[in-house]
């Protein structure tokens, strides 16, 4: 038994070291594109494509980690968090494009707007449970996107309408680097917030709500306040990512700020990594986004799918994503982080047990 624990501890250490090395590389490689580094003849380790993918990964780390606050820790299956992303993006976008605010002043408004909205809709929605909450939040996500695209004010589209909203390009040296690190900062912030929540009285209250809401209320947890606070916190972080996205991408419309797939992707990421943990959703976001890009063929390291033409490639990638979704849900319901927790090991027995636990 003792040797078993030691072996597991060793595995865990290996996992942490590998993760740390990968993270350090991902964070430092972009610096090689700086002029100073190029002048010093340091080889270029990251090109523009990598920047874009890495920034997207950081963005999904924020969203998955934020979703974890309400979905993983509080246990409320929010399916419409993309609304907060879109609200954040449009808040910053409108302030910059229409009110001519500078970016750094407009950015902090994004999380505030998303949080306000979350408080407003959270009060009625969080009275619902289970399926009802999940689909009602999904409905809010869809409805907000539709309103943003279609609302008119004196005959003019209020938020740019179907053509979308163009932002002036933010003049900053090494723009790609700037937005990459800004997004990484947001990701670090969301992880830090989760870390803090899980160690606070607030977090214990949320976990109590997840395990048994009536019992939590009986022992004196103000369940409404806690739930709305968790929802609001998740919204603020997601809105921040949206705000950064709007200036980074320069162009926003309903399709790129309110995609329904993001709802599912952030949940799948959290699930893949392990819900309710600090680093799980982040790990899941990195894994899944890399996988999606890999399947889609946009990574520098790519592969040929036999019998599939280039045109059909993105569609086949979606099919594979769907199959992956099904497989993860069926076989790895506690996330890959469960395998590094010290108690379980990947093998046929694990997969069969996972299947049997939930099967009819």
């Amino acid at each position: 038994m003792i040797t078993r624990t030691q072996a597991d501890r060793r595995w865990r250490r290996v996992f942490l070291i590998v993760g740390g090395v990968v993270a350090a590389y991902a964070l430092l490689a972009p610096l090689t594109s700086l002029d100073a580094a190029q002048a010093a003849n340091i080889p270029l380790l990251a090109d523009r494509l990598w920047f874009r993918i890495a920034t997207f990964i950081a963005m999904f780390v924020v969203m998955a980690t934020a979703w974890n606050l309400i979905g993983g820790i509080t246990g409320y299956a929010a399916f419409g968090n993309v609304a907060f992303f879109g609200i954040g993006a449009y808040t910053t976008g409108m302030l910059i494009a229409k009110a001519k605010w500078p970016f750094l002043l407009a950015l902090p408004v994004a999380p505030v707007a998303a949080a306000l909205f979350a408080t407003l809709v959270g009060l009625p929605l969080l009275r619902l449970r289970g399926h009802y909450f999940a689909v009602a939040s999904l409905g809010v996500g869809v409805a907000v996107g539709e309103l943003v695209q279609n609302l008119d004010f004196r005959g003019q589209p209020m938020f740019g309408g179907a053509t979308g909203l163009f932002l002036p390009i933010y003049a900053v040296p090494d723009r790609d680097l700037f937005f990459f690190y800004l997004m990484v900062l947001a990701a670090a912030l969301s992880i830090a917030v989760t870390w803090w929540v899980l160690r606070s009285r607030f977090g214990y209250g949320l976990i109590a709500i997840r395990e048994n809401e009536e019992a939590a209320a009986v022992i004196g947890v103000n369940t409404t306040l806690y739930k709305v606070a968790a929802f609001t916190l998740a919204a603020a972080l997601t809105g921040l990512a949206g705000g950064i996205f709007s200036q980074w991408n320069v162009f926003i419309n309903q399709d790129n700020t309110f995609p329904i797939e993001y709802n599912v992707q952030m949940i799948l990421m959290a699930l893949l990594g392990g819900t309710g943990t600090v680093l799980g959703p982040a790990a899941g976001a990195v894994l899944l986004e890399l996988l999606i890009q890999f399947l889609g063929g946009s990574l520098p390291i790519s592969f040929e799918i036999p019998l599939v033409s280039d045109a059909a490639r993105p569609i086949v990638a979606q099919v594979m994503l769907g199959v992956l979704l099904v497989v993860v849900v069926m076989f790895v319901p506690r996330g890959v982080i469960d395998l590094f927790g010290g108690r379980t090991r990947l093998g046929w027995a694990y997969l069969r047990r996972s299947l049997r636990e939930t099967s009819l």
Binding site: G71, A77, F79, P124, L125, R127, L128, G130, H131, Y132, A134, V135, A136, L138, G139, V140, V142, A143, E146, L147, Q149, N150, D152, I260, V264, I267, L268, L271, A312, I315, V316, Q318, V319, L321, G322, V323, L324, L325, V326, V328, V329, M330, P333, L355, E357, T358, S359, L360
Partner: protein
């Protein structure tokens, strides 16, 4: 006044589609406790079958509906037996994600097979209607409404009169007790999902006649089916019929508000749903369970 009557008629006719979409969704949710996010994809599979039979063999679209039902029943049965049954005891988030994954697979396979072209089913009588003074009653939606009511009636008969239907009702009431009296849960669950899918297939056949079929055209119907079930109340076929018709009416009147057009259909639907959920969670006709 004539406008008002016309709106009511159009609303009820549109409601027929929502009844057809809603009954299968309601059955699966009520009995299996699954919010089936693949429902819209199953609907559109039915639409493609009708289109294929109409375009290739020139079969009248209404006559293709039984084919839709049988094909989708088989698909649904296999899906439940092979995949969904295996995670049926997992938390709701998992069934949500699983059915979304199934949705993704079906939609993209349809994209591979049929491409993203618009396919429409236009029999000779489509676009025609009965004119009563200033009021027009289009033929296809009227027949569709009839088919939808027939579908709901058949489903209610199956659930209340047949052995397997009674077994399904027993499961909905108390799963463990149902198992104790010897009901084969795996089979009964698969039949339930198959029936739900069959209803979706018929709904898809009806939808193919009133709008263009594309692989992604089914997605709004998943959400609308949910709203219909919330409106009517979970658990009874008749409640879904009322919910579907009510939803059609609300949509018709919502779209007639000047300046709104059809673009706010989802926003209106979900606004309505949230109001109903918060004020009357058991639905218009539902019982608290």
């Amino acid at each position: 006044m004539a406008d008002f009557v016309q709106l009511v008629i159009l609303g009820l006719l549109a409601g027929g589609i929502y009844v057809a979409v809603g009954v299968g969704f309601s059955l699966v949710w009520g009995v299996l406790n699954i919010v089936n996010l693949a429902h819209g994809a199953l609907v559109i599979v039915g639409g493609y079958i009708t289109w294929q039979l109409f375009a290739a063999l020139h079969i009248d679209p209404f006559l293709t509906l039984p084919v839709d039902a049988v094909a989708l029943f088989v698909l649904g049965y296999a899906l439940q037996r092979g995949v969904i049954n295996r995670i049926i005891r997992a938390p709701l988030l998992f069934t949500f994600l699983l059915t979304f994954g199934v949705n993704l697979v079906i939609v993209n396979i349809l994209l591979l097979i049929f491409g993203s072209d618009y396919r429409s089913v236009t029999p000779a009588y489509s676009g025609q209607g009965l004119e009563l003074g200033t009021i027009v009653i289009p033929y296809v939606p009227v027949i569709s409404l009839g088919v939808a009511i027939l579908l709901a009636t058949l489903l209610a008969l199956v659930l209340n009169r047949t052995r397997i239907g009674l077994a399904i009702s027993a499961i909905a009431a108390d799963r463990d007790a149902a198992q104790l009296v010897g009901i084969d849960l795996r089979h009964a669950y698969a039949v339930t999902y198959g029936l739900g899918a069959a209803c979706a297939g018929v709904a898809g056949g009806l939808i193919a006649m009133i709008q263009a079929v594309t692989p992604t055209a089914g997605e709004p119907y998943t959400l609308q089916a949910f709203v219909v079930v919330i409106l009517g109340g979970l658990g009874r076929v008749s409640a879904t019929v009322v919910g579907g018709l009510a939803f059609g009416l609300v949509e018709a009147f919502g779209q007639s508000i000047p300046g709104s057009g059809s673009v706010f259909a989802n926003a209106i639907a979900f606004g309505l749903m949230v109001i109903v959920l918060v004020t009357r969670p058991q639905g218009l006709l539902g019982r608290l369970r």
